[in-house]
Subunit: 134 residues, 4 copies
């Protein structure tokens, strides 16, 4: 009953590295966001299209643990698991894993909520099927 989470593969780009010669801490949030949006799209939910419709998926909490640093030339995989936290809240449990040695570089838990056009918390019907699978 293995349950391999959704993941995407990426490569470190040199411009993402800072003067320490490693990927800058903030860039991991970019990686995690991109993987989440790919996951949502894969599940039939287009972030940009939702935004254009006035529905905003917003991050309300981000927790990242930095284990090791990605360096120029590294390839890695970003995984996404989704957990429903409440009717209009959910959490993405994510990992950044270096390829090919399968080392965990960063683990993250990103909690989000959905807001309607008036900035009010609101459930998104499109997300329901996703939660049902959880």
């Amino acid at each position: 009953m293995t349950d391999t989470p959704y993941s995407i593969e990426m490569d470190v780009r040199d411009y993402e590295c800072d003067l320490q010669g490693i990927v800058n801490n903030s860039v991991y949030q970019n990686y995690l966001e991109h993987a989440r949006h790919c996951f949502l799209k894969h599940s039939g939910i287009d972030f940009a299209e939702l935004t254009a419709r006035g529905i905003h998926l917003v991050v309300i909490k981000a927790e990242l643990e930095y284990k090791q640093s990605l360096k120029p030339g590294d390839s890695f995989r970003v995984s996404v698991r989704m957990e429903q936290v409440g009717r209009i809240r959910w959490a993405f449990v994510q990992e950044v894993i270096r390829i090919p040695d399968e080392t965990l570089m960063v683990s993250g838990r990103i909690t989000g909520a959905s807001l309607n056009e008036r900035g009010r918390p609101s459930n998104i019907p499109e997300l329901e099927p996703l939660f049902e699978k959880l």
Copy 2:
């Protein structure tokens, strides 16, 4: 007994905003990092110079709570308080506060450690006086 923490003022730059029309989540880590480095410099510790000497201050954990979103045209203040967590670990307690209405936008707790040239945890003599004040 007021104890106003160190802080810097910044303005939102339009390129920092994403297609939701608000500052992208990852950018707050940039803001927090810049404020930390200014704080360290203000305290006599130059991040770039330390890096050049082979001493790496690294983030091992980042916890951010997003309360409200900064928008184009907003000005804000980023504060920095430092707490020693262990001999070679410390935490920066930070807030992003919108000006002029003093609304808390993001609160963060960034835990860091120092590594020597061989990537080993190592205390930094320059940080000692900072901790003594805590």
Copy 3:
């Protein structure tokens, strides 16, 4: 008859530096854009507000000459001069000058145009007074 161009002052932020230890080339486009938007706002034109109204100011050409590299700790000034190129085209002539030694780091010429909601070239009445001053 001195004619000092509009300019803003900024500081290098460490996260803007790449593994060469200098500000990454692409970041100067961020600096130039921010200075242009400040210049427009100073002239009564709000880029974000125009965008929300469906009017898009777009860059059609960017020419940058990199003379010297900004480094961590540097302060600099970004100037903006505007030249009308056609009825719906204009050019921003910009310089990045290090403070306090007044060294030219980057010079740029950014050509832009305005598009209406349907993506068609369109003149913007708000820009007319700006051009008249030229």
Copy 4:
């Protein structure tokens, strides 16, 4: 005698888009840089490793023409052709082409030079074979 240039494929990431809902102008410089570094690596030249050795490949001029804007969900190809301009100067002629409709989005010409550890122009033996092929 077709001569297909080296190219890499990439996808737009939502965080690269600004409040206009399109990829921010500065991000194309990131795309072009990443493609150049991949091209160099493919040719046996590692940018990060050169930097660590004190040899700096620097951009001295960037010319970009923006034809159309990449949007969320777009895939694209970035091509790289190299032209020797002088003994220590070269130009990268690059294109950003949207997939699958093969539309030219951005064309760029990036002129670079190599500097040794003392910041002096210096030829790089590793680049010679690349130039010989030109």
